[in-house]
């Protein structure tokens, strides 16, 4: 384990919030060294570029832009981000796409420790994915969205358009790709439903979610059966039958 201190910047427009985070970090994450605080977007961008931190605590809502503006403007920098947000479903979805670390306000000390631990692990990983860059990319190019999958052996980045179907089994989800590969992710199917529902995917069964683009045929029945381009036959729940018919007609 690397005993060098991790250099971090806190970006938040509320001085009290910055102070709180600073106090908690010094008390519970002593290996973090807060080298600067930023009060808005331009200030944060400026300090990241000048001080090149390894870790950024970033409030999503700030004056003169928001967290994503910071990421866009510092995409060339290599740092891990822990997002801090009070309430932003939109932001949380974006973060989940890239499997980024985030904590919610009011800040929980337990969550803060956990997030910092994960960020530290990631920083020590040689094959580290630059999630910050992925978020920035997803923002700019919504059609070619990338999804970061936390697999058993680390992380993997896939294009949303390459996914044929997902099938849930307990706490894991199997993801079937266009190239025939299968990925096992330790997330429930609901997690992906929230992320992909407006990306051309449909939950057709309690354990199946499919990409509508990759449907080859539909056979009517009680709920019916969908044949996907990889030849898989997916059962459709009777309650979703109408949605399928509406979509294809």
């Amino acid at each position: 384990m690397n005993h060098e201190k991790i250099r971090a910047i806190i970006a938040d427009d509320e001085s009290a919030a910055r102070e709180t985070l600073n106090n908690y970090l010094s008390r519970y994450c002593p290996y973090i060294e807060v080298i600067a605080e930023a009060k808005d977007v331009p200030d944060a961008v400026d300090k990241i570029q000048k001080l090149k931190p390894s870790l950024l605590f970033l409030d999503v809502e700030m004056p003169f832009g928001n967290a994503f503006d910071v990421l866009e403007q510092t995409a060339d920098q290599n740092y891990e981000t822990i997002f801090v947000t009070a309430f932003s479903e939109y932001a949380i979805r974006a973060l989940n796409f890239s499997a980024s670390y985030y904590i919610l306000k009011p800040v929980s000390i337990e969550e803060l420790i956990k997030a910092v631990e994960k960020a530290r692990e990631s920083l020590n990983d040689d094959k580290r994915i630059n999630r910050t860059a992925i978020i920035a990319q997803n923002m700019k190019n919504p059609q070619g969205k990338k999804l970061v999958l936390p697999t058993t052996s680390g992380f993997e980045v896939v294009a949303v358009k390459d996914i044929i179907r997902l099938s849930g089994s307990g706490n894991y989800t199997d993801i079937f790709m266009v190239d025939g590969r299968k990925k096992v992710v330790s997330k429930v199917l609901k997690h992906f439903q929230d992320l992909l529902e407006d990306q051309g995917f449909m939950r057709v069964h309690k354990s199946h979610m499919i990409c509508l683009e990759h449907v080859q045929a539909y056979h009517k029945g009680r709920g019916g059966v969908l044949t996907m381009i990889d030849g898989a036959e997916i059962e459709v729940s009777p309650t979703r039958k109408q949605d399928i018919l509406d979509y294809f007609q």
């Binding site: 427009d13 009290a16 919030a17 709180t20 003169f64 832009g65 928001n66 967290a67 009070a86 309430f87």
Partner: protein, 609 residues
């Protein structure tokens, strides 16, 4: 669908009218121009001619009937029947008379025309009697066999009855008692009938003089009859009516003969014969001659009797020719009547057909109207239910809109407690938390209300401002003013309407400012309206919008949008005129902040107190 129905309804009555006003025939009689005459006028004319010219009278009555059908004049229709009945009665066609009197009696009954109905009933009875209808009495509704009923109906009926009817009723009652061998009672009624006779018209006097004479003689009251007939004679002289005098003379003569007083009889019978000669009343003359011959015979003066009988034989010739003449007239009259009768029957049957048609059309019309009514009712119910549903939806929507306190604010505020905790500042943490709880409690409490007192609203705003000021104390100071003339406890306002504008002022105006800003909130009344202004000296809307990055625009607070929707819904639901205007402030031509001015009609607040 609806339009077609309405058009149908408009067309239908037009068709009915056009039918009833169709053929306008212009008939006219040689001696009476019927053009432009009403049915009633024709009937009056027909009645005038009933005796002198029964054929024309019949034609007029038929014409009147036709016109009454056209105009739908029921009274004229029944009066036409009445006249026709009378004409048939006069021409001794009692079967036809009964038919018309039945029609007219029923008709007058419908119209509650008692005096005309009585006339018809009387002739109905007389006609039946003429036909020897044994059930005539029973058929007559006026005169039943029950004595009590008779007496009752008499007293009741005689009040309304005309002179002639009264006589008839008395006569009928007399007749009834006579049949029941109660001569005393019978005499009483005959006397009353006799008395009434002198108040009646000439024709009635003539008619009654004969019939009452028969009654008296039948009851053996010859002296009464003689006295009565003398009175009739005097009445006839008084009125200058020789036919009355003639009849009374004959009655007196025959009564004297019947009572073995031939000497008394002779002068009256002679007078009758002479008057009969003058008026060519062959029938009466024949009767008088017979009685006179009998009188001479009774006196033993057979030669005089012979002379009279010779004279009588003489008269037989003229009588025969008269009889033939009468017979011819009667035949031709009957022929004319029969011709008219065919026309009348055609008229009546076509009228019946027309009435049936109208009834059918009316039924269709009513059913269409009912269908339309039902349709309208259903539409109304549907619209009402839709309106109610809309209103309910609006209320639900309003509820969901007002329950929202920006969650961003909630969680950021809670995070402020973390600040005190991280500094081990127990008291501040506690105070902050209780202030925050107070705010949440009021917001939750007011969330199910459309209006709350301004006092409560201001307290809520103060806590909110204090909490925000704690977070952004370096960005702004604030003032909250209430005009002196206002009683905040009595004024009612929608809760949390102003808060989003304050939030806006801080979030988009003051937060971007380099130096410390100022937020001024004022409540005041003007022209009976309540106003609230939220004024900041922040960077202004324009600059604030320009500073927004693409990423920020994707995520935007819905507070103001919600408030606008709430105001629209409140206005719709309560018919109020809540209005919000936002002004960009300038100083020396440069943006110097924003002001939101919210107006609330004063009346609404009183209404809700």
């Amino acid at each position: 669908m609806r339009t077609i129905l309405i058009i149908g309804l408009l067309l239908l009555p037009a068709k009915v009218w056009s039918q009833s006003g169709k053929s306008e025939i212009s008939d006219s009689f040689s001696n009476y121009n019927i053009k432009g005459k009403t049915a009633i006028q024709l009937i009056n004319e027909a009645n005038k001619k009933a005796l002198s010219d029964p054929v024309s009278s019949n034609k007029l009555a038929t014409e009147a009937l036709e016109r009454s059908f056209k105009s739908g004049d029921k009274l004229a229709e029944y009066r036409s029947y009445q006249t026709l009945g009378t004409l048939y009665y006069n021409s001794a066609n009692y079967t036809a008379a009964i038919k018309y009197f039945e029609l007219s009696s029923a008709g007058f009954g419908e119209l509650k025309d008692k005096s005309n109905q009585a006339y018809c009933d009387k002739y109905l009875l007389l006609s039946r009697k003429k036909l020897n209808d044994l059930n005539a009495y029973e058929k007559s509704s006026k005169i039943s066999k029950s004595k009590e009923y008779k007496t009752k109906s008499l007293s009741k009926y005689s009040k309304n009855a005309s002179g002639s009817d009264q006589i008839d009723i008395y006569s009928e009652l007399g007749n009834y008692y006579l049949e029941n061998k109660d001569t005393t009672q019978a005499l009483g009624f005959i006397n009353r009938a006799a008395e009434a006779t002198f108040r009646a018209s000439d024709s009635v006097v003539l008619d009654k003089a004969t019939s009452l004479s028969t009654f008296y003689n039948a009851t053996g009251n010859y002296s009464e009859n003689i006295r009565f007939q003398n009175n009739v004679l005097e009445e006839g002289k008084k009125r200058g009516k020789l036919n009355i005098v003639n009849l009374a003379s004959y009655n007196l003569g025959s009564t004297y003969v019947a009572t073995q007083q031939p000497e008394q009889a002779i002068p009256f019978l002679k007078q009758s014969i002479s008057l009969s000669n003058k008026s060519q009343n062959i029938e009466l003359k024949q009767k008088s001659v017979k009685e006179l011959a009998k009188a001479y015979e009774d006196m033993g003066q057979y030669d005089k009797a012979l002379t009279v009988i010779k004279d009588y034989v003489h008269t037989l010739d003229s009588l025969q020719s008269l009889h033939d003449k009468n017979l011819d007239a009667s035949i031709s009259l009957n022929h004319e009547f029969a011709k008219q009768e065919a026309r009348i029957q055609k008229l009546i049957s076509s009228q019946k057909q027309k009435e049936a048609d109208i009834k059918r059309q009316r039924t269709i019309l009513w059913s269409l109207a009912a269908a339309l009514g039902l349709f309208g009712l259903l539409t109304w119910l549907l619209i009402r239910s839709i309106r109610q549903k809309q209103k309910a939806n609006m209320q639900i929507k309003l509820q969901s809109l007002r329950a929202q306190m920006n969650p961003h604010f909630i969680f950021n505020s809670l995070n402020s407690v973390n600040n005190f905790i991280s500094k081990n500042d127990e008291r501040s943490a506690n105070r902050y938390l209780s202030d925050f709880s107070k705010l949440m409690r009021t917001v939750l409490k007011n969330s199910d209300q459309d209006f709350i007192s301004l006092e409560t609203e201001i307290q809520t705003l103060r806590i909110y401002l204090d909490l925000e000021h704690f977070r952004f104390g370096e960005k702004f100071d604030y003032t909250l003013e209430l005009a002196d003339d206002m009683d905040a406890a009595l004024v009612q306002v929608p809760p949390m309407l102003i808060q989003p504008y304050i939030e806006n002022a801080i979030w988009h105006g003051l937060r971007y400012k380099e130096n410390k800003g100022r937020l001024e909130i004022r409540f005041y009344t003007e022209n009976d309206k309540l106003f609230c202004t939220v004024k900041d000296n922040g960077i202004g809307r324009e600059k604030s919008a320009a500073l927004k990055t693409e990423n920020q625009k994707t995520y935007q607070s819905t507070g103001i949008k919600n408030t606008k929707e709430r105001i629209e819904l409140l206005n719709k639901l309560h018919g109020t005129k809540l209005h919000i205007a936002i002004y960009d402030l300038t100083e020396n031509g440069l943006p110097s902040g924003t002001m939101a001015k919210i107006s609330i009609p004063y009346i609404m607040q009183l209404e809700e107190v």
